[in-house]
Point group: C2
Chain length 355, copies 2
């Protein structure tokens, strides 16, 4: 589609996939689901709806070389490096500023680099519907029909139909279990996927309105685009930008927010348990990678990325075992969402160099 | 005591403590219980009942250098190297032949190098009683009051009292669970610990009678003791010796077998679960060694012997996690006795170099 772009959000780092993910090797460049890295999967599934020249990737400067290596077919100028992480509102604002400068009629889809999506064709259909709904300035979000009362996702309350989409009545931050259950039962609540479609000017205008300080700094940066002042201006102004998420900073306040109901299966792959769920499994329900030997083991993820090391497991059920050259994790799948506790304890014990 | 010697049996290798134990690093030279190696613990607990000059160690030639390094205070000539493993009857026969040659009045205690014993003072008392009982040619074994109906140990049926000891009515190989239960209930059955006391001539005579071929070969070797022919003779004749255990080959058939009831706590430390049971534990019941971080983990053994590697565990209960530079084991404690299966599977997969 003309003037339609994809912006893949590949910033951020995290410890949810420790010990595979590290400060220097974030989730998006890792093959968390086996095979290709998350960012490469994300970009690959955009073809042929988008041409490589229409796909942009926002990433942190410290990871941009690694991300670039994952995406050799993208024009180098399509990688937008943030000098430092400033959360999603700033990253999206930077992409909008950049795209509007390149193409005043630009509209774009925002796609996180680290999610699981089962059916690219359905994604393409939904993005096209969202593009139509975004015509004229609406901010469009993709809602996911909830499969269970997750307390790990934000929710959207779907309102009346409006053309290709629905009004969003309200955004809800991660709810307590009871509220989540009520949401799921009602049928009118959807998971907030973090995927959006809008025209570049429309999201820029919304930022100007709801985050005026950020809007001014982005305008400053926009003025330097195409000039030799850009690197210095970007580094200086971006550092001043407030850290805030696009949901909290803009979407929850904006007036014309629409939702397209996603037709594809989706997961934000927030933990080793979620990754295990979405990986290929053998007959025993195990997902195995690297040099590992399981005996009487089922429903487990066993992963070793050290070719000189053997991981042997006996009698496990529903476990995660991840081995890397300098650190090993063992936990029941059901506990893998609590990895943060372990990471904190590792820090407390003075073993930061293994994080 | 004069003419009384200790023979520590430090031969054999095993995979029960894989990945810590290997073909080249058998259990007895490893600190399976933390701190000192098993063989060093075994020898240390013999002092002061025995003087270093009275303590002999039989070990396989391939491990003798490692065993020697663990026992720097023993006279070098007190290490008896088997050219190859030939099971316990041969190892004991070799020690008896050697000791009888050095001291025709020698009596000796046989002590496996890889057992747990809680109280050395009680061991000393029992060995002295057994030495008295062995006077005049009886073969004396130490029986352990069974704590539970183990199917992993052989049993002795205790008969009538005879001086310091009791007659042994019969030896039983590892029983089925039902039989083991009946044994424990009767109160007259004891675990066969593999610890013995006898006069050197008496066990040699028993071997001559019940294993005449072995007796002849040992006599051949005995004839070379103190001569330059010894190494060649030992290598040649020992290779011909039948592999048989002292229990099956001699004790089960012998006429005058007595039992001393051991007053000390004992365990053959046959699995990681047993080792975990006998190691120091923290308040959560964990036994930790090396660079490891446990969170919300209890009743588990977590051991890393690689100072450059961190083992982090979350939410484990009753687990064994052992990390070495080239292999890691994870299993529930209750399965650690089935390690053999895992070792076989590792072999099947072609990963022998990690065994």
């Amino acid at each position: 589609m003309e003037h339609f772009y994809a912006v893949v959000m590949a910033g951020g780092s995290g410890t949810r996939f420790w010990p595979l993910s590290r400060a220097t090797r974030p989730k998006q460049i890792l093959p968390i689901l086996g095979g290709d890295s998350m960012v490469r999967r994300t970009v690959d599934r955009l073809f042929p709806l988008f041409d490589p020249r229409q796909i942009f990737v926002v990433t942190g400067r410290e990871h941009s070389e690694l991300v670039r290596r994952e995406l050799p077919y993208l024009p180098p100028e399509n990688l937008i490096d943030e000098p430092m992480g400033r959360d999603t509102a700033a990253a999206i604002g930077l992409a909008a500023t950049f795209l509007e400068w390149r193409d005043p009629e630009a509209a774009f889809a925002v796609l996180p680099a680290d999610h699981y999506i089962d059916d690219p064709a359905k994604l393409h259909v939904d993005l096209k519907r969202a593009r139509l709904a975004a015509q004229g300035g609406a901010l469009v979000t993709l809602g996911i029909k909830p499969r269970h009362p997750s307390t790990a996702y934000g929710y959207l309350n779907r309102g009346p139909r409006e053309g290709e989409a629905f009004r969003v009545r309200r955004f809800y931050e991660k709810p307590k279990l009871e509220a989540a259950r009520a949401f799921v039962e009602s049928g009118d609540y959807f998971w907030n996927s973090g995927m959006f479609v809008w025209e570049a000017w429309a999201i820029r205008k919304a930022i100007d309105r709801y985050l005026p300080a950020m809007g001014k700094l982005l305008t400053e940066i926009g003025g330097a685009l195409g000039t030799s002042r850009l690197p210095a201006t970007l580094a200086r102004e971006y550092a001043k930008i407030q850290r805030v998420s696009i949901d909290y900073g803009v979407m929850e306040k904006a007036e014309r927010v629409l939702m397209v109901e996603a037709g594809f299966g989706w997961d934000d792959v927030g933990s080793w348990a979620a990754a295990a769920e979405r990986r290929g499994k053998d007959a025993a329900g195990n997902s195995l990678e690297g040099k590992c030997v399981p005996v009487e083991t089922k429903d487990s993820l066993v992963l070793s990325n050290d070719p000189n090391h053997l991981v042997a497991v006996l009698g496990l059920e529903g476990f995660v075992v991840v081995h890397t050259p300098d650190a090993t994790l063992v936990c029941p799948k059901g506990r893998s969402e609590e990895l943060k506790k372990l990471v904190e304890e590792i820090r407390n014990k003075g073993y930061e160099k293994h994080l």
